[in-house]
């Protein structure tokens, strides 16, 4: 295969001063129309296109991205990947995703640096511990790896953590998923883009959708800043901008878009080897392969499309991290940024049909959809290709907001990321 990535192709290209590398994906002009248009060139949109082509043979596909691919939440998140969700519906969906992660680099022929270093979820109150037990037991019965750690075990895995019983909110225990971990966010977008491109998908950057074309209650295409493009089906995967696209189609969604911030420290020598999350003191942290501590917390309370939030959230977040890791007090914060997360009332996504025929939405991943990237693309591709959801996403419909069949992940599990 031409331009396959490997140590050998690197060596070969080194000889020619790397002048012969081909572009990872083409930058074609939009065609007049496509079988499927995917709006949104984040990880989810690109994965959708890739699986449409590779699993369903639908190759006449375009991904429309208003800026640069991977520049939305995909390029802004703290990259935590895990599948130990409470409710069966979410657990199965995220576990499917985790399985896909496990072979993704090879499948895409792009190293997404998926690092299964374990994700630890701390409990600080008796109720936290009940919830942790409940979730871990459910995970176990759902066939998902899961452990409950006592403070001594936590200390062994993360000796630098403050596990003193005298802390303001002492660490009472934790859930631990060893198969969880982190991945290199940009590589995920680029890897899917390259793989989709090789399957014939057109990736159109700087192509902003400004209208949804409809006829007789069915979608017929989209209006963009690069002209009108027809489509038999349109899949919308625009995360924070879901409501904006929805309103172009005359719809409203049970979604609010909030700023979610993250930050990194200066790069350090390896010191933290797992992902640590605490919902109670509000902070989560991992160390990237480059060495910086990658840190996040909760959303800003107001809605916002500004890709930035308030300093007070950062203060609270860093306070929590220093509280948990007193050794990081003299470490310095390098950079801080925000994304726009699409928050659903039950902290679960919406993946499925809309009242408009041929128009599909995949949104509501909120603060935790990076881990779902391959799985979300996989089920969404199925849903678009077949016109019906896969059993894995059947519960994640819009109808649940009318019937009341919410999948309340935050009610019970304090889901964050």
């Amino acid at each position: 295969m031409k331009n396959k990535y490997s140590i050998f192709s690197l060596a070969r290209n080194a000889v020619t001063y790397h002048e012969n590398w081909r572009e990872a994906w083409r930058s074609p002009e939009p065609r007049k129309g496509y079988d499927v248009i995917v709006i949104g060139g984040g990880g989810h949109g690109l994965a959708t296109a890739y699986y449409l082509a590779s699993e369903h043979g639908i190759r006449n596909v375009a991904v429309l991205e208003k800026n640069w691919i991977g520049g939305g939440n995909t390029g802004r998140n703290t990259t935590i990947v895990r599948s130990n969700y409470l409710w069966d519906e979410s657990a199965h969906l995220y576990e499917k995703s985790l399985r896909l992660w496990e072979g993704l680099s090879q499948k895409l022929n792009y190293n997404v640096m998926f690092s299964q270093r374990g994700v630890m979820n701390l409990g600080h109150t008796l109720q936290d511990m009940r919830d942790i037990e409940r979730r871990s037991n459910a995970n176990y019965l759902n066939g998902i790896d899961s452990e409950v750690l006592r403070p001594e075990q936590i200390r062994q895995i993360v000796p630098i953590m403050n596990t003193s019983p005298h802390a303001r909110y002492p660490v009472l225990g934790a859930s631990f998923q060893r198969r969880g971990g982190v991945a290199r966010h940009d590589a995920v977008a680029w890897g899917f883009a390259r793989a989709a491109d090789r399957e014939g998908v057109d990736i159109l950057q700087n192509c902003e959708v400004t209208g949804i074309l409809r006829h007789n209650g069915a979608v017929t295409g989209v209006e963009t800043n690069r002209g009108r493009i027809q489509a038999k089906k349109v899949g919308v995967v625009v995360a924070g901008h879901s409501s904006v696209i929805a309103s172009m189609a005359g719809l409203r969604l049970p979604i609010e878009s909030h700023p979610l911030q993250a930050l990194v420290s200066e790069p350090l020598k390896p010191i933290l080897h797992t992902v640590v999350m605490s919902n109670a003191v509000h902070g989560y942290i991992s160390q990237s392969d480059k060495g910086e501590l990658v840190i996040g917390a909760g959303v800003d309370s107001y809605t916002g499309y500004g890709q930035r939030g308030s300093f007070s959230v950062v203060e609270g977040n860093i306070g929590a991290i220093v509280e948990l890791f007193p050794v990081f007090s003299r470490v310095r914060m390098l950079r801080q940024w925000g994304g726009i997360v699409d928050v659903c009332p039950d902290a679960c996504p919406i993946i499925g049909k809309t009242p408009i025929r041929g128009l599909y939405f995949n949104c509501g991943w909120g603060t935790g959809g990076f881990k779902a990237t391959p799985g979300s693309g996989w089920v969404f591709a199925h849903t678009i290709a077949r016109g019906e959801p896969h059993s894995l996403n059947a519960a994640f419909t819009l109808e649940r907001f009318s019937t009341g069949a919410l999948i309340d992940e935050h009610g019970a599990a304090g889901v964050a990321h």
Partner: protein, 1004 residues
């Protein structure tokens, strides 16, 4: 071998104060006023760092925040601080520093092998390899991680403390250079509340390394005059060593003040750093400009420095970074430094100027000073090693600066001072929402139109002449004060300075070396991340063409310097490759922080066991402490969890507390429950809407249990509400839910039902509440209170009376959460301790036993009473709890409509049941998942989970509450708790009531 590069005199260092310090284990000395960088240079230490990817030796390049190379680890133990820039570390006696890279040593770095393999490691190489075999990735990753990272996080907790100050001001001035000083002077004279912050140790900015006279004074003296005028103004705050690190919405800025790092033995009361949280009416950005390096082959060798840095080291620190200096420039400003050197009697080998015909005044002066100028020339390569440069190779270049015409040979030198022009520091302007615009003249980005109340001035605004800076600064300060509403006279005289005609700059983004692309020595754009011109071209070739993709693919600007030197060059190079104008490509996003900020400072003082989060205590907290209570965190409250006697385990203590309460008398501090006074003629109607049950008929003096739903129909809170008077109710809420419930009710009242005449007031803190429970509770109350008739008829269950208990005015409620005869006594919290003591004394003979939340939970679970938040989780309806009876049919209430949705009226919902284990000694773990039969394969279908579970001391068997699918119709059937540890515990479903199901005891 080390010879001193300190010049005999000059500089603003205090030569009488000799300081010793160590770097990589070697002792050196410097002077007070030095930075670590200037002291290292003075000691002729050339190599201070090994680069990130290729481990090439690197020396000091700059003299301030822009420095990418000299990253060091300072101190050790609890004071270890990683990743400081030597250019910003003020020297103190005893300072120890070491390089953060180089293994085994800086000089001999085995990782430098990477350099040989360099061709295998182009931008993004790791995305292309390490994929097979799959299981080896974690092994590769281990080495990638080890090779990455700069300094080391300390291994010990930080002993230093940090601090924050909130402050409002009329005008915040960022930067204390000539521009900022004039702005402060003008704004200060206008009477404004001014804050002027500068990241350096002293005010003065570039004047600290200037030799030009200003208003007839030496620059230092002029600065001194202005500073002393400002110091005398009571409304002006001068903050040296203070970096404005972030510009947020609504003119909120963050300043990071460093207060002790430069001191040898700081007063322990001084907080190490301080975050100023500033809300400024107006902001003046006088942040100056950073010199831009030139990009040529091997431009990263130790000895290649910014021309302005050379000037700073000479003028400010009395260090001549080299004996033989060559200048390489495309603009006039470097000539200023040449003249400074010449004036100081130093040798300048030559100036290499890319311009074929440079014109300005300064050039004439340099020429007449006898310094050779190679016009229309470039430096194509440099030679040198870890101990400095040996020579530079120069060549003639064509007019468009992209082709070498002829090689001109070499110039021997030990320092190459470069200047590629100036990049105004537009970071804060951009952070404030402004969009910097490309300016052809200075070939860089200047601030665009202001979005917030902010204006830029001076070099930060692209104004490079000193006279213009002074004028612009004064004007900016005056106007800012005006716009902030000050009416004072902010006029200032502009001091006279000499000015000269400057020639124009000729931008050159990549210096050609006569070889094809990628051949010859590497041309570095981002020194810290080892990003080269070839990397940028590769990225563009591979389709990473957005400037944001470029950044992420090549790590350009990703380092701890955030690309202060490299970014503009990198973007221009990309533009060049794509055949576009740099202005079209744009910049990457500027984000906080301008320079890195210590976590501890951002966390501030509110960390640790005392201050991390406010702690709420009840009026008898101290008694609990003195009596050995273990505490449970409930929200911010500390609640006694259980009171172990010496040697007692938790189980034993809880057992004792439960039995004492059931058998005689227990006492509980229940003060933390939320309490809300509800007053007004429409109170009952209001309660009717908030609670699911009916409130129109409750008599005065009676109490009723209520359940509150969210509008989604899910149980939100519960509690007992009593009617105190005609239009007067008192509601209790859960401890954790109190604030939320009050806010929630206020919201309905204010926004939806403003016509209801109801007032709500929180009285949680006012009332101390103690529950006295057990068969002997009536006896003790009768002892302590004579003005209430405690007989069952006169004071029935679920009612309230006012009286005097132990001499203290009180409200007494007859309610029970334990199922025992029980009373809750409420007194003003000022008398809480007296009441508690009185009861304890009076109860001695009755074996009165204080019990904590754990025993309380056991007692209530025996009765099947729920705890919202433990037995419910945000997906539980009243029906699920078997409490359909509490949802009144005759009226609407919040959340009621949601109960009739398809899913909420489904038969098979999870319902509250009681469980008893087949083995009565086994206590089910709370959170256990339940199955209809033990699982043989996974996933296994779960039918419910355990919400509460205890060993009941009174019943002598374990009890549990659980939510089970269709559970109410499954009484008597078995479920299995299958646990993560492999255990399977069978249990029988029953009613969620275990003890005294007829409620005889509480009604006696």
């Amino acid at each position: 071998m080390s010879r001193s590069l300190r010049v005999a005199n000059g500089g603003s260092i205090r030569r009488t104060r000799l300081l010793s310090f160590s770097f990589n284990g070697t002792l050196y000395s410097g002077f007070e006023g030095d930075t670590l960088a200037s002291a290292l240079l003075a000691n002729n230490v050339r190599t201070v760092h090994r680069s990130f990817k290729y481990h090439r030796p690197r020396g000091v390049v700059g003299s301030g925040a822009e420095e990418p190379n000299s990253i060091v680890q300072v101190g050790s133990g609890s004071k270890a601080t990683p990743n400081l820039r030597a250019t910003q570390i003020e020297l103190y006696d005893g300072l120890t520093a070491r390089s953060v890279s180089g293994w085994p040593s800086l000089r001999v770095d085995l990782y430098a092998l990477n350099g040989l393999l360099g061709r295998l490691l182009p931008a993004g190489f790791y995305y292309k390899t390490f994929m097979r075999p799959r299981f080896l990735w974690s092994w590769y990753e281990h080495f990638i991680r080890k090779a990455a990272g700069l300094g080391q996080a300390p291994r010990e907790a930080d002993l230093d403390h940090y601090d924050k100050l909130n402050i409002h001001c009329d005008v915040l001035i960022v930067g204390g250079g000539p521009t900022g000083l004039m702005a402060a002077r003008a704004a200060g004279r206008a009477g404004a509340r001014v804050i002027m912050a500068d990241e350096q140790a002293e005010m003065g900015g570039s004047l600290l390394s200037s030799t030009a006279s200003i208003g007839g004074k030496k620059p230092g003296d002029w600065v001194e005059t202005v500073v002393s005028e400002l110091t005398r103004m009571p409304e002006v705050i001068l903050l040296p060593r203070s970096t404005v690190t972030g510009y947020y919405d609504h003119n909120f800025l963050v300043i990071n003040e460093r207060r002790t790092d430069h001191l040898e033995r700081p007063d322990p009361r001084l907080r190490r750093e301080r975050i100023w949280r500033v809300r400024a009416s107006q902001v003046v950005l006088a942040t100056g400009a950073i010199e831009r390096p030139l990009v040529f082959s091997n431009n990263d060798k130790p000895g290649v420095m910014l021309a302005s840095a050379v000037s700073t080291y000479l003028v400010r620190y009395g260090v001549l970074p080299g004996r033989k200096i060559v200048f390489f420039t495309n603009n006039d400003s470097a000539y200023q430094t040449v003249l400074q050197l010449v004036d100081a009697g130093m040798e300048v080998v030559a100036v290499v100027d890319v311009r074929s015909d440079p014109q300005g005044d300064l050039i004439q002066q340099v020429r007449s000073a006898g310094v050779p100028i190679f016009e229309g020339h470039v430096v194509v390569d440099v030679r040198g090693g870890t101990s400095g440069l040996r020579m530079v190779l120069i060549a003639r270049v064509n007019k468009t600066l992209d082709e070498i015409l002829s090689h001109k040979g070499e110039l021997r030198c030990d320092v190459l001072a470069v200047s590629g022009g100036w990049n105004p520091v537009v970071h804060l302007h951009a952070q404030s929402g402004g969009k910097p615009v490309f300016n052809e003249e200075c070939a860089s980005f200047l601030p665009g139109p202001s979005v917030q109340n902010e204006r830029s001035a001076g070099a930060g605004n692209g104004t490079f002449g000193l006279a213009d800076c002074l004028r612009e600064g004064a004007e900016a300060g005056r106007r800012a004060a005006q716009d902030a509403g000050l009416t004072g006279d902010g006029s200032v005289d502009i001091p006279k300075v000499e000015s000269h005609v400057e020639g124009s700059l000729h931008p050159i983004w990549v210096v050609p070396n006569g070889l094809a692309e990628g051949r010859g020595g590497k041309k570095f754009v981002d020194l810290q991340n080892d990003t080269t011109v070839a990397d940028i071209r590769l990225a563009a070739r591979e389709g990473y063409r957005s400037v944001e993709h470029l950044k992420r693919y090549t790590a350009l600007g990703f380092g701890t310097d955030q690309g202060k030197l490299g970014n503009i060059n990198g973007m221009a190079i990309l533009a060049d490759v794509l055949g576009q104008a740099p202005g079209k490509i744009g910049t990457t996003t500027f984000r906080p922080n301008y320079t890195p900020v210590t976590f501890g400072a951002i966390a501030g003082r509110e960390i640790g066991s005392t201050f991390f989060d406010p702690t709420r205590k009840t009026a008898v907290h101290q008694w609990h402490v003195e009596n050995g209570a273990e505490f449970e965190d409930v929200g911010q409250w500390k609640r006694p969890w259980y009171y172990p006697l010496p040697g007692e385990t938790m189980n034993e203590a809880v057992r004792r507390e439960c039995l004492a309460t059931r058998e005689s008398l227990g006492i509980l501090d229940a003060s933390t429950l939320g309490k809300i006074e509800i007053r007004g003629p429409d109170s009952a109607e209001f309660l009717n809407r908030i609670y699911t049950n009916s409130w129109l008929t409750l008599e005065i003096g009676r109490c009723r249990y209520g359940l509150m739903l969210g509008e989604d129909g899910m149980v939100m809170d519960d509690g007992v509400t009593s009617r105190i008077g005609e239009d007067h109710y008192l509601m209790t809420t859960t401890t954790g839910g109190a604030a939320h419930v009050l806010a929630w009710m206020e919201r309905w009242l204010q926004t939806e039902w403003p016509h209801l005449r109801v007032y709500l007031t929180s009285v949680t803190d006012h009332w101390f509440v103690t529950s006295v429970a057990g068969p002997n509770s009536r006896e003790i109350l009768t002892k302590l209170c004579t003005d209430i008739d405690f007989s069952a008829d006169a004071f029935p269950f679920m009612s309230v009376r006012a009286g005097t208990v132990a001499g203290i005015p009180a409200r007494v409620y007859r309610i029970s959460f334990s199922g025992e005869l029980a009373y809750e006594i409420n007194v003003s919290a000022n008398y809480g301790r007296s009441l508690w003591q009185a009861i304890m004394t009076a109860g001695q003979s009755l074996n009165i036993t204080p019990y904590g939340t754990e025993a309380m939970h056991v007692l209530r679970a025996e009765k099947g009473y729920i705890i919202v938040g433990q037995d419910t989780d945000g997906s539980v309806t009243p029906g699920d709890l078997g409490m359909d009876w509490i949802v009144s049919n005759g009226k609407d209430c919040i959340g009621k409509r949601s109960l009739s949705r398809q899913d909420t009226r489904r038969e098979n919902r999870k319902q509250l049941v009681g469980l008893t284990t087949v083995d009565p000694t086994l206590v089910l773990p709370e959170g256990a998942q339940l199955l209809n039969e033990p699982a043989k394969e996974f996933p296994a279908p779960m039918v419910g989970h355990v919400t509460s579970s205890y060993f009941s001391p009174s019943l002598r068997h374990s009890i549990a509450l659980a939510l089970v699918k269709g559970g109410r119709s499954r009484e008597g059937s078995m479920v299995y708790a299958q646990l993560i540890d492999g255990r399977v515990i069978p249990a029988t479903i029953g009613q969620p009531k275990f003890f005294d199901p007829e409620n005889q005891r509480q009604k006696v």
